[in-house]
Symmetry: C2
Subunit: 177 residues, 2 copies
Amino acid sequence: MAQKNLLKYILLGLLENEKKTGYDLKKLFETEIGEFWSAKHSQIYLELKRLEEEGYISSETGLFGNKLEKTYYTITDKGQRVLNEWEETPTGELPLNKDEFILKLYFIHDKNDERIQKMLSEQYRLHTSKLSHLKKRMILLFKDEVTRSKNYGHFLILDHAIRREEEYIGWIKQYLQ
Amino acid sequence: MAQKNLLKYILLGLLENEKKTGYDLKKLFETEIGEFWSAKHSQIYLELKRLEEEGYISSETGLFGNKLEKTYYTITDKGQRVLNEWEETPTGELPLNKDEFILKLYFIHDKNDERIQKMLSEQYRLHTSKLSHLKKRMILLFKDEVTRSKNYGHFLILDHAIRREEEYIGWIKQYLQ
DNA sequence: GTTTGCATGTAAAATGTTACATGATTAC
DNA sequence: GTAATCATGTAACATTTTACATGCAAAC
């Protein structure tokens, strides 16, 4: 997917409320954001550099311990405007969910092909495991109304992710023998 | 997603049962395959050239009318082996569904932010329209047991896509005021 | 005769992954 | 002291999109 550069907005969004280093951002892609987006540190550091050049973020370098340097990034007014603009723009098109398993299934023509059951049971394992992970996250992050109200968007998408996995599992079960 | 080169397998899979031109393949990405994968003609023609160089497919050029040339591609034994191998390899990891709407939602913190309802109603429109399209496809392609048995994998993923959209709509309805 | 669709390609640019590279700090 | 983690970057490569480019055939 080379074209929309959504990473730009993710970084701006993450820098909206507090300054962060490239490493902090990278960490977020390994946990929270990692549930619905991916980016490697090589891409993140490059994009941060570009965003600074364009004036969307600014940086300050601090020393940590004796010699270790950290670069903290903050969103600028210009960056904030760009972020708000993006948030208010209707998304318009539905994304394409590129799923390798779905692709493989497409090329199986015969109803009694043994591979179907193998694939379904592997997917069952993967999706139940994912579901259990998501449910744990939900309890951890949003155990009450107060926590939900603070990051309502995040709560909504986690709720959606859980429902999606439940649906996926229900579908597999229907065809799994 | 730059690395797995799944396009290679899609092209091999599509050439499995009958020879096709690059243009035929391009057309498939606009309809059938387009539901779950995308590729531009520029990428397809390039990949076909590479597949032929590597001996996975072979080509024959035919004349159509007076001057218009068509190049038909067929899968070779070597290509067939590579395709089978891929089909039998467990997919292993779950894909990441990159959804711009989900991303935007993530950055909205306040439960009463007006943008949430706007975004949800836009998504409602998009997903109901998608669902109706998928249901039409289902009736068109798989109206009886016979047609289902012939392309069972395709039937399964279309059934899944419909259920997924229904779930999506159900989720939106829960939060739409 | 003019628009739409058929048919095939190349080039440039953006995006993303993998690998290479280095060094500091913390936990054990 | 040594392994894991913190911290930042570059280089090479693969994938994907957008734009450029051309010409034939069919339908109206």
